[in-house]
Structures are given as C-alpha cells and as structure tokens.
Symmetry: C2
Subunit: 303 residues, 2 copies
C-alpha cells in the first residue's frame, strides 16, 4: 500500500505552525494552507480532520480556530514521514558504502528487497535512478553489477568537475557588474566569514554553504548537464561523509578558507587568479576525498 508519509509530514508541519503561533486565532482557508504547505487540498483536509479529532483545533459552524496546545507526542515519528523510495535510497547507500561490498559484486534485486523489507519494484526503480551515478551497471536479464566506489571513480568524477567548474567560474567572472549574482556572492562571502567565527560548534553547517556556493557559480551560465553532475557530487558526498567524519572540522575549515580565496578571485575579475583559486580548491577537495577513500577501504578490510 502507498505510504501516507505526505500526510504525516504535512501534519507535523501544521503542528509546528500551531506551536509557533503562525496559525494563531482563526485558521486560514484550506486553499491558503495548501499553498503554504505545498500539498494538495485533499491532504490538507485530512490533516485538518485529524487536528480537529485531536482537539488541536476546533471547528464551529465552519470556522476553525486553535485548540489545546501541541504536545511533543502529537508528532508522527520521523521515520513515518519519509517515503519508501527514500528509505530504500538510505539503506542501499549504507549497504554499499559501509558494508563490505567489494567492486565486482553483483546486486540482487530480490535479496535487497527482502533485506530492506520492500517490494522488488522499489529496489529496481532505485537502481535505475542510481545507475546514472556511474557506480552500478545493468546486465539485462541477469542483475546489476556494482563497479565500486573506487579511486578511479573519484578521479573520473573530479576530472569532469574541474572542467565544469573552471568553465563556470570563468563565465561567472565575466558577468556585467550589475548582475544580481555579484551581491549573492558577497552575501555568501559574509556567510563564510560568519561560519569561520563559530567554526568550533557549527562546522557541520559547511556542507550547506558549500552547496550554495558551487550552485551559485553555475547560475551565471546554466547548463543542465553541469547541474546534473553537481547533483551526483552532492549525493555521493552527502552519503560518503555521513559515515566518514574523520577530520571533519579540519577539512571544512580548510575548505572555507579556500572558498574565501576563490570568492576574492572571482570578485577581482582576474581570470588567472580565478583559475588558480578554483584549481587549488578542487585539488584540495579531491585530495581529501582520496584520503578518506583509502582510509575507508582499510577499515572495511579490517572490519
């Protein structure tokens, strides 16, 4: 059966809004709520029905207003707000990156389905989606081949990344002064400086910033294929570093400094400087990844 994660997530959001006082007094119309929560009115109505049922809101001659205060255990647990497909993704990535899955292993849809507790259909859809990341390959009528999250993979990925980023950075620096992206860049620079101040406690925040930064660079000259590659990078890094936290603070600190230098170079509009800063940053990112890869391999082997 289809999961009702959309409803549950919407319910939790609504509960949050009630708690924050965003919905104090008389509630907005179903349509208005629908817009704010980005779900269909059908779902909004389901949420409202449940809110009434739990007396979190009251309804009197068609007028809805806030009811009793929201308590912590009114919320649905997080796991129930994530669709199956996402769970499959998470479990698969863990299986692949954490387990002792060696390059050359063949992937069995049925086995994964059993292991993850879903129908084979979901596994298959995930694998098809995932195959564009270049880590697995389909052999018709037979199964999938895991090619491995290897050094080769990382090298190939970074080779393309460098090409793309140099191109985008160059085009970014050629923008007219009046382009609104310059002020966005300045804002990002400030954000970097701020993070630097609070690095001790907030170093996890870097990955969000990193994303925004690299996506901003691409915004000056959009190209869907470049965006795609960046999706891959984001995805891979997200999961890889999620289980690989050695030196995280150190790593991020270095990267912040590189970013700032890179931003300065962009602002200088000097193409040589841009190239140097861009290459320096990517070289360092690659080195970090490679180091974590080999170390990762060792721990796997010894596990």
């Amino acid at each position: 059966m289809r999961t009702d994660t959309v409803y549950k997530k919407a319910f939790n959001r609504a509960a949050n809004m009630l708690r924050d006082g965003q919905l104090a007094g008389e509630l907005p119309s179903e349509n208005e709520l629908r817009r704010r929560m980005c779900v269909s009115r059908t779902t909004v109505r389901k949420v409202l029905r449940e809110l009434v049922h739990r007396e979190l809101i009251t309804e009197r001659h068609g007028l809805r207003s806030t009811g009793r205060p929201v308590s912590d255990n009114d919320y649905y647990p997080d796991a129930e707000t994530t669709p199956r497909a996402k769970h499959v993704e998470q479990q698969f990535m863990e299986w692949m990156l954490r387990g002792d899955t060696r390059p050359g292993t063949s992937i069995n849809e049925l086995e994964l389905a059993r292991q993850f507790g879903v129908a084979t259909n979901g596994i298959r859809e995930f694998l098809i989606r995932f195959s564009r990341f270049g880590l697995i390959e389909k052999r018709p009528n037979t199964g999938w081949l895991f090619k491995g999250f290897t050094e080769d993979f990382a090298l190939e990925l970074f080779e393309i990344r460098v090409m793309f980023e140099l191109r985008s950075a160059h085009l970014f620096s050629l923008q007219p002064d009046r382009s609104p992206l310059w002020s966005k860049l300045a804002a990002l620079k400030t954000a970097h400086a701020d993070l630097l101040e609070r690095i001790e406690s907030r170093f996890h925040d870097f990955s969000g910033l990193d994303n925004r930064f690299h996506r901003l660079i691409n915004e000056a000259s959009p190209n869907r294929f470049i965006d795609d590659l960046y999706d891959i990078i984001t995805f891979i890094f997200h999961y890889h570093y999620q289980w690989n936290k050695q030196d995280e603070k150190q790593r991020n600190l270095a990267a912040i400094h590189e970013h700032i230098a890179y931003i300065d170079a962009l602002e200088s509009r000097n193409s040589t400087r841009v190239e140097v800063a861009c290459r320096a940053h990517l070289a360092s990112a690659r080195k970090t990844l490679m180091r974590s890869l080999t170390r990762f391999d060792e721990t796997s082997i010894n596990a």
Copy 2:
C-alpha cells in the same frame, strides 16, 4: 507476464545459423551453443526443443543433427523479439519527437501506459531511465514534466560535447606512437574513404561509423561520465534523425569530409590543428542539428 523475446530472438539466431550452414552436421553441445548465442542454457534447451519439434533438427539417442531446411516463415516476427521495455522506448520517443508534444506538457504515466498497452510500471521505469537525458523532470506525487527538445537543450548538450571532445582529442593526440589506437584510427580512416566511394547508395552507414569514431577518440583516456554523455548523444541523434531524413546524404557527406580532416589532424599530433578540426566538425554538427530542429518545429506546427 514476462515476454519470451529472449527465446524468440535466440530461436531466430539459431535458425540463421542452421541456414548459413554454421551448424552443419552434428550440433555442438548445449553449453557450446549457450556461449555462442549469449543466453542461458535453459533458453538454449527451449530453442532446441522447438527446433526438434519443427523438425529443423533431429535428435536420435541424444545426438542432434540438422533436419529439414529452414524456411522464411520459420522465423518469429521481429516485433516479438524485442522486449517490452524497448517497445516502450520506441513508442515514447515517437510520441515525444513526432507528435505535437510541446515543451511544458505534463506526462501522465497512466495515459501513456494505456496508449502503449503496457503496465504503468514499465512506463515509470522508462521515464526514470530517460530522465537522465535532461528532457523530462519528475515532480513527486504529481507526474513528469516534458521540458522540450528545444534549441536550449541542443546548445547545452553541444557545449558539453565540445568540452569533452576537445579534451579527448587532445589526449588522443598525445598518445605514444606505439599505442594500438593509432592503427584503429587508420583503419577508420580507410573505412571513411571506402564509404565515400559508395556514398550514393550507402550513406546510411555513416551513423555507425560516426559512433565508432567518436568512441575511439574517447578510448585513449576513458572517463565514464564522458561515455555517458556520448550515450545520450547517440540515443537522441538516433531517434531524432530516424524521423528527420532531410538532406541525409548531404549531411553525411559533409561529415565524412570533416572526419577525415579531423583524423588527419590527429595523426599530425599538432594540437592546434586538432583543435581546429575538432571544433569545425562539432560546429557543423551543431548547425545541422539546429537547422533540423527549427524545420522540425515548423512541420510539427503545420501538422
């Protein structure tokens, strides 16, 4: 129910082998056949059973030998030798490229499933696979958005293609003289010259040659992400030009000459020459595509 296209295709191949005399006299073992036909032994046995049943081969105390001659209507029709997934692909591409499907149209899985006569699952799997081509986009819980086979798409694709090809061509030309790829290149050059001789009748053969050529260039410095882009290009061009045959001979003739110039440049190992020839060829390919796109639009509008 799963289609038995694997069996039918294998059967046709076996029939062909019988007809060609490749299996004259006593037949090889099941395992040997399995290897030759690239299917499982289970399928081989099914084929053999049917061949016996139709008296195309005879079996006597476990010894199989050829039987009556193969007739034209022993073959299964082509349509029955293609798996559903492939049919979906073909029908979808036709729907997209030939119909009046405008950018911004939303794609309905259920409707396509009905239209193509398959289960929604097959449609969905195809769409997921196809989404990496950058022409459609998924909006969760809602459907797919067709972004259009537009000029923008072609421009973005070619921008990347140029970057990749310049990089690969450059690296190709840096190979040591003893690399075996040089002789492969020479062979391809001859093939081009041959095709030029028989261009009047054989101009369709160009696309195969084109593929081999560009893939060869990439072989010198493999990168899976570059191969991926080339898959996209191959796929798109295949379908686009399948229904868009204007000036085909003309187009291919020009391209052959460009390829030859490009090969000469590579053989000269002179990087400036390589770059010039490569750019010239890709610029021309882009122009051709763009022209066919606009013309294509017009015919669609008037259709």
